[in-house]
Amino acid sequence: MKRKNVCSLVLAAAMMATLAGCGSGGASSAAAASSGSASGSAAASADPIKIGGIGPITGSAAVYGIATRNGAQVAVDEINAMGGMQFELNFQDDEADAEKGVNAYHTLQDWGMQIVYGCTTTGSCVNVAAETNADRYFQLTPSASSTDVTAGKDNVFQVCFTDPGQGTTAADYVAEQGLAKKVAVLYNNGDAYSTGIATAFAAEAAAKGLEVVSNTTFPDDTNTDFSVQLSDAKNNGAELVFMPIYYTPASLVLNQAKSMDYSPIFFGGDGMDGILAMEGFDTSLAEGLMLMTPFNASDAGAADFVAKYEAAYGETPNQFAADGYDCIYAIYAACEKAGITADMSHEDVCEAMIAAFTSSDFSVDGLTGKGMTWGTNGEVSKAPMVVKVENGAYSTM
């Protein structure tokens, strides 16, 4: 019995030592790991400015996090190759989970991050934004589009459209172009992004005299069977189905709509971008699909980025990657304007960057929009773009 006690005390002590140990020993290893992902190969005379990225690298949302990471990395490599200002990107996994997002943020703090790039997903971003706001870090997110991300936080900015903004714009577009009188809304009611757009769309559609004849949802984790939702839209005579959902379930919706001979206009949000690039996807299913996306990979302006991205990662970039690329260039432009150097504290960087972003003459020409400007509320203002799938490729409307 005595030995048992001693052993458990020793074990407890050992655990304490490990915990305390990771306090002191973590820094060097984190830096070592990050040097793999960052490219400091260009003749860097100056120390790089440390950008900490957060997004899902594992789990079911990994595809979006990896795209934002890769897109940003392409931009960082380009900027570093130009000489002059140098960046180092350390991208940490948050599994699209709020708790893990905050953990990733703290890890990056230990690494000495000066600017936060992320998070990819809204749920995680809202939490990290609260932390960065309290700790004074400048934060720019590529794709967390809820208004909760920026609400009440002067240091957080978005490159993507907000959810309500997107829903409202979509409804206005449908009404103005006279695409349909009777519309159906199909969304993921387990997802903040999808629900946010759908709610705003339904409200604006009603205001613009469109009739929402069917309003159906599916849960986040059972997103494979849409027969009931599609039948409802079909039986109520919807001429247009608005579905602000990600492209993975959307491909199933299109597939099932075809097998039940239902062919309304399908209209999606920016999460739909990437559907044509899915490996093995029959693009004829998406013929006539309309979506609001800020990025068209077949645009001439994007050719250079697309070529570099394809060479590095073997796939066509989608708007998540383009948003990430634009984020880094927006940070770059603001850093130039504010005269940020690698030896500045994150508090100083934060104040200088906020001033740069909100100043009236600051605008960024990116892949996802020309002349992007930001207000003090952190939301981006850029022209929305609607594309239609014709002959298996986007054509800008």
Binding site: S8, L9, M15, S24, Q92, D110, N127, E131, T195, D220
Partner: protein, 352 residues
């Protein structure tokens, strides 16, 4: 005298558990005040406390009562959302942060306890994997329902709805507390490491006293041999209900602590995977072994963060570590070693 002698080992063991937690707290506090703690670990302190409480409370169901529960995160969810709403409602009346935290956590705990009274009906009727699936089902139902609920607060009081925020008809000064899948946002960060530490002490006191009480012995007797226990007059429903509801209340408290450490929480956080994660803590720490649960919960919460150096391979390494640990702790040769630590191996053979 005779009785005292017999009680002594368990009392001593309890004191070691308390001592371990207190020492851990003291060391962490010392490091914190000395500024020696990395922020990555500092950020983990409150979640660790919440998971420790979850693990200990689940151990009451799985280890002591011997019934597999796959929906423990559901109670955490009820506690979390109730506490968040309560904290927002009390904002003007209770000005002191710690008091408001305590009160709203308590409300969360009571809410989880009330929900568990519904779940307890099948718990008393079903056994084994059938019970496991019912707890899983309850966890999913809770998640699904919270995902559809909208709660707002304005001068006239609470507004509830199932459709969307606009349909609640909030006054202009109203505030949305819970917005379905968008979750609860704008939560005030009230939780602290000290609050978490106190909650762990409370949980340990409740759990250890329960185990060593008449009721606890009755529950364990039912676990080891139900028929024999019933034949000597132990009522299964009464004691099982006690253990189950206690476990749910503690989970609700942990949920409150967890939620108020973040500025927003989503219903989908408390899903099947979270329930499983907590079950992993319990099994790894040893079924029925409270101290083991505490250590396993803390260690396994820190582990994925320590593995960040592996970058893309992080979760793969985590899975391998998990499998290897299970293999080693159950290996007959290693078992004797681990038995000395009272880790990994359950105190008693499971009842079949």
């Amino acid at each position: 005298m005779e009785k005292l002698k017999r009680m002594a080992p368990s009392t001593r063991s309890s004191f070691i558990t308390y001592g371990m937690v207190i020492v851990a707290y003291a060391v962490m506090e010392a490091l914190l005040s000395g500024g020696l703690l990395k922020s990555s670990l500092k950020g983990l302190l409150v979640p660790i406390c919440a998971y420790v409480v979850m693990a200990v409370s689940l151990n009451l169901t799985v280890g002591i009562m011997g019934e597999l529960s796959l929906g423990h995160a559901g109670f955490m969810s009820v506690g979390a959302f109730t506490a968040v709403i309560a904290a927002a409602a009390l904002e003007s009346t209770v000005t002191s942060g710690p008091v408001r935290l305590a009160v709203s956590m308590a409300i969360g705990g009571v809410a989880a306890g009330l929900v568990s009274l519904i779940v307890v009906v099948p718990v008393l009727r079903l056994q084994g994997d059938y019970l496991a699936i019912v707890t899983l089902a309850f966890g999913e139902i809770i998640k699904n329902i919270i995902n559809c609920v909208y709660v707002g607060l304005d001068g006239e009081g609470f507004h509830f709805g199932m459709k969307d925020a606009a349909s609640l008809g909030l006054a202009a000064d109203g505030k949305m507390l819970l917005q379905g899948p968008m979750g609860a946002v704008g939560i005030q960060k009230l939780s602290s490491f000290t609050a978490g530490f106190l909650l762990i002490l409370l949980t340990l006191a409740v759990a250890l006293n329960f185990i060593h009480s008449r009721a606890g012995r009755a529950v364990m007797a039912l676990r080891d041999n139900r028929i024999a226990a019933e034949s000597v007059g132990i009522s299964p429903s009464r004691y099982k209900m006690m253990a189950f509801v206690t476990s749910a209340v503690l989970a609700g408290l942990a949920g409150g602590l967890y939620a108020m450490n973040f500025s927003s929480i989503l219903a989908k956080k408390f899903d099947f995977n979270t329930s499983i994660l907590i079950l992993v803590f319990v099994v790894l720490g040893g079924m029925g072994n409270i101290r083991g649960s505490v250590i396993a919960a803390a260690a396994l919460t820190v582990l994925p963060e320590l593995l960040r150096d592996f970058s893309d391979y992080r979760m793969l390494v985590y899975a391998i570590v998990l499998i290897l640990v299970m293999l080693f702790t159950n290996n007959p040769a290693c078992k004797t070693v681990f038995a000395r630590f009272k880790l990994g191996s359950p105190a008693k053979k499971e009842a079949v």
